[in-house]
């Protein structure tokens, strides 16, 4: 037995001996190079199409480009012009109003619905789908539908008048002072379901044992949510803020479909400003400057957020 086993044991060992080193060398080579090889097109693509074009836009904002790009440096004149334009400040103020209210409302409504849905109610799946469904629509559709609903001569106001409530008035869509708030309404309708889904997933991840322990200690349900559950959703808050703030800053299609920046330019936002000046008014340099200001806004919001988030993770691990 032992005699026969030894050669048998040796034979398989002897045959592959030359092979394993080369195979493992290959594997090692593949291990080091394959991920790089697979990732490199993405890296190159994002280097060129994201960072390259950011650089190009930054350069264009320092030129006198009008209808066509012109790469001759001419200083910061475009920024000076931009800051003198009333319309730019309207757009910036609107971004502040829209972004702030949109994020706040989405967060509170999303969290509220998520907490209510988390109470082990019946038909939760169906309700979840209903709340999440607006997310399946594009902002153009949302904008067009809300445009009809909010139009005083077609939608809500007319319906209430037809029902006999003659004094009912809801004309924000055609009121230059209020039009930006209609964008908030439509945006919140579209996105709060998505926020709910994120929070619901987060809520399901909270350890039941902690909650039960708190209950044993006699904590009330609101106190449990306030002191235990919501603080433990911190990472979800960060993701939601990240997603919502970039939706707010880049918002273009929703405003375009709902108010087209109007009445007049009262609901203008930076993205529409950038598009119009770059592509329809032949002021590419000024458009590029406004795009850089949008990038600065994104960075101003996202960098502290991401910094806090990574810090939070480190704290969590410790």
């Amino acid at each position: 037995m032992s005699v026969s086993t030894v050669p048998r044991a040796r034979a398989p060992a002897a045959e592959p001996t030359p092979a394993p080193p080369s195979a493992s060398r290959l594997a090692a080579l593949a291990d080091t190079w394959l991920p790089r090889l697979v990732l490199s097109p993405t890296v190159v693509a994002s280097l060129v199409f994201v960072y390259g074009f950011i650089g190009l836009t930054a350069w264009l904002s320092l030129t006198d480009s009008r209808m066509m790009p012109n790469f001759e440096y001419s200083g910061f004149g475009q920024y000076a012009t931009l800051f003198e334009l009333d319309r730019w400040w309207t757009a910036a103020r609107n971004l502040g109003i829209f972004g702030g209210l949109f994020i706040l409302a989405c967060l509170s409504i999303g969290l509220g619905i998520a907490i209510l849905l988390d109470q082990r109610i019946r038909h939760e799946g169906a309700l979840r789908a209903i709340y999440l469904y607006p997310m399946a629509l594009s902002f153009i559709v949302t904008g067009a539908a809300w445009k009809w609903i909010l139009n005083p001569g077609l939608g809500l106001e007319k319906m209430m008048h037809d029902w006999g409530f003659g004094h009912f008035s809801f004309d924000w869509l055609v009121d230059p002072d209020m039009s930006i708030y209609t964008v908030v309404i439509a945006g919140v309708w579209q996105s709060s379901g998505f926020v709910m889904a994120l929070f619901l997933a987060g809520l399901r991840g909270v350890d039941d044992a902690i909650i039960k322990a708190a209950m044993v200690d006699g904590a009330s349900l609101p106190a449990i949510y306030r002191r235990i559950v919501i603080p433990s959703l911190r990472p979800v808050f960060f993701s939601v803020l990240l997603v919502l703030s970039h939706i707010a800053i880049k918002s273009f299609d929703l405003v375009m479909a709902l108010t087209a920046g109007g009445p007049g330019t009262s609901s203008d936002v930076p993205a529409i400003f950038m598009y119009q000046f770059s592509f329809t008014r032949g002021r590419l340099g000024l458009g590029a400057a406004s795009a850089m200001m949008m990038l600065a806004t994104v960075l101003a919001v996202l960098v502290p957020l991401m910094y806090l988030e990574t810090k939070g993770e480190r704290n969590g691990r410790r």
Binding site: M67, M68, F277, R281, G282, R283
Partner: protein, 416 residues
């Protein structure tokens, strides 16, 4: 054995392709005539070109009143593959000329004697540095007032010739419970109304000085303040749901008797005729109040881009001549609701509004009262026109005073 037939096929197809390219030069035309009547109009040009043995390559980009087409054009020109011709109008032709990409089509112009067929205000727009680089397709008159005579009759009002009569009529219509002025609160519609008001209040000479030459003294003059006051007064006769309304929905309000009058260019006529209404009977087309003698024009044109081969250049000149031919001018403008840009086109098939537009254009041209439209990108470059449009839109949608509007206007005119 197997390679031989393949090689033959390759050779044959190459030869075919080469001969096709040689036999039929092509023109590629970028345009945004995509809506019903417009698409029918441009299809006529395609037919005419194909009859002349030129392959027509359609490059239609819909949407945004040509904004999307302009974006597509920029991309193509930057990439070095400009189309043969593109629908560009007004001072934009000069902007493209400065880029050095437009082709000289003087050959077609001298052969067709364009200089004698076109008013000089028009031919100047088509020329860059004295050479024809674009061919005009049609003329739209912008300073029209569209009226539903039934509404006027019901309110006991009469068709207005000046602003006093206009406001008298508007008061009566309002009192009778209808909307006096149908309007859509979009910046370009606000600007369309504004330019008709300036023309009516100040006259053609003032219009030219203020909105074409952008003379600061004229822009801040009492006449301009009066124009804004008039505009502000018209604003009170517009229903509050007008914000964001499309122009054709406003026209529909006039058509179905919900509203009495609308300031709009003659493309509105298409809406009336499609609804089965007859010019002069079911609807009236009058010059905007106080502008009977003057005429603001909006001319569509095809700018010609530099092409490489001699064949393509020849096809390009054929295209230019075809566009200026009386046959095309007639059929295109009948479909589109505009009028031919050149003289010598039969009037038989045009309706009352169109023939009036032709007469007024000839008269205004003679009297020097033919003015380019500000709202439709004919008067000044896009950057300045955009800045002015913003001021008008702000005035229309806020409690801005006429004095403040005039100051903002003067500032906008300085936009570089």
């Amino acid at each position: 054995m197997m390679l031989k037939p393949i090689a033959q096929a390759v050779l044959l197809s190459a030869a075919l392709a080469a001969s096709a390219a040689m036999a039929a030069p092509q023109v590629e035309v970028l345009h945004y005539w995509t809506s019903g009547g417009e698409a029918k109009s441009i299809a006529e040009l395609k037919k005419m070109m194909e009859a002349k043995g030129v392959v027509w390559k359609d490059f239609a980009v819909a949407g945004g009143a040509g904004e999307n087409a302009a974006t597509a054009l920029k991309a193509r020109v930057i990439a070095g593959s400009a189309p043969t011709a593109a629908q560009i109008k007004g001072p934009s032709i000069q902007e493209w000329g400065q880029e050095g990409v437009l082709a000289n089509i003087d050959a077609a112009a001298t052969e067709g004697k364009w200089d004698s067929l076109l008013p000089s205000v028009v031919s100047n727009v088509m020329k860059y540095k004295g050479h024809y680089v674009a061919v005009p397709v049609n003329v739209h008159r912008v300073n029209w007032l569209w009226i539903n005579p039934q509404v006027l009759a019901k309110a006991g009002a009469k068709a207005p010739a000046n602003f006093d009569e206009f406001f008298a009529a508007a008061d009566k219509i309002k009192k009778a419970g209808m909307v006096a002025v149908a309007h859509g609160g979009q910046p370009w519609q606000d600007a369309t109304m504004f330019e008709s008001v300036v023309l009516g209040v100040g006259g053609a000479a003032f219009y030219d000085k203020a909105l074409v030459k952008l003379d600061q003294a004229a822009l801040t003059s009492p006449t301009m303040i009066k124009a804004f006051e008039t505009l502000g007064k018209i604003k009170t006769y517009i229903d509050k749901d007008a914000a964001g309304r499309d122009w054709n929905l406003a026209t529909a309000m006039v058509i179905n008797g919900k509203a009495g009058m609308q300031f709009m260019g003659d493309w509105a006529k298409g809406e009336f005729t499609t609804a089965g209404k007859v010019a002069g009977k079911d609807f009236l087309c009058l010059p905007a109040p106080g502008t009977a003698q003057s005429y603001t024009f909006n001319i569509d044109s095809l700018a010609m881009f530099k092409v490489k081969s001699a064949d393509e250049q020849k096809a390009q000149l054929t295209l230019a001549s075809a566009v200026m031919s009386p046959e095309f001018q007639e059929v295109f403008n009948l479909n589109k609701g505009s009028i031919p840009v050149r003289t010598g086109v039969s009037r038989a098939k045009f309706d009352a509004c169109a023939t009036r537009s032709m007469d007024d254009m000839a008269a205004a041209s003679k009297a020097g009262m033919l003015e380019p439209s500000l709202a439709h990108g004919m008067a000044i470059d896009t950057a300045k026109a955009g800045a002015i449009q913003d001021v008008i839109a702000k005035f229309m949608n806020s409690s801005m005073t006429p004095q403040a509007a005039v100051q903002a206007l003067a500032k906008a005119a300085k936009t570089k």
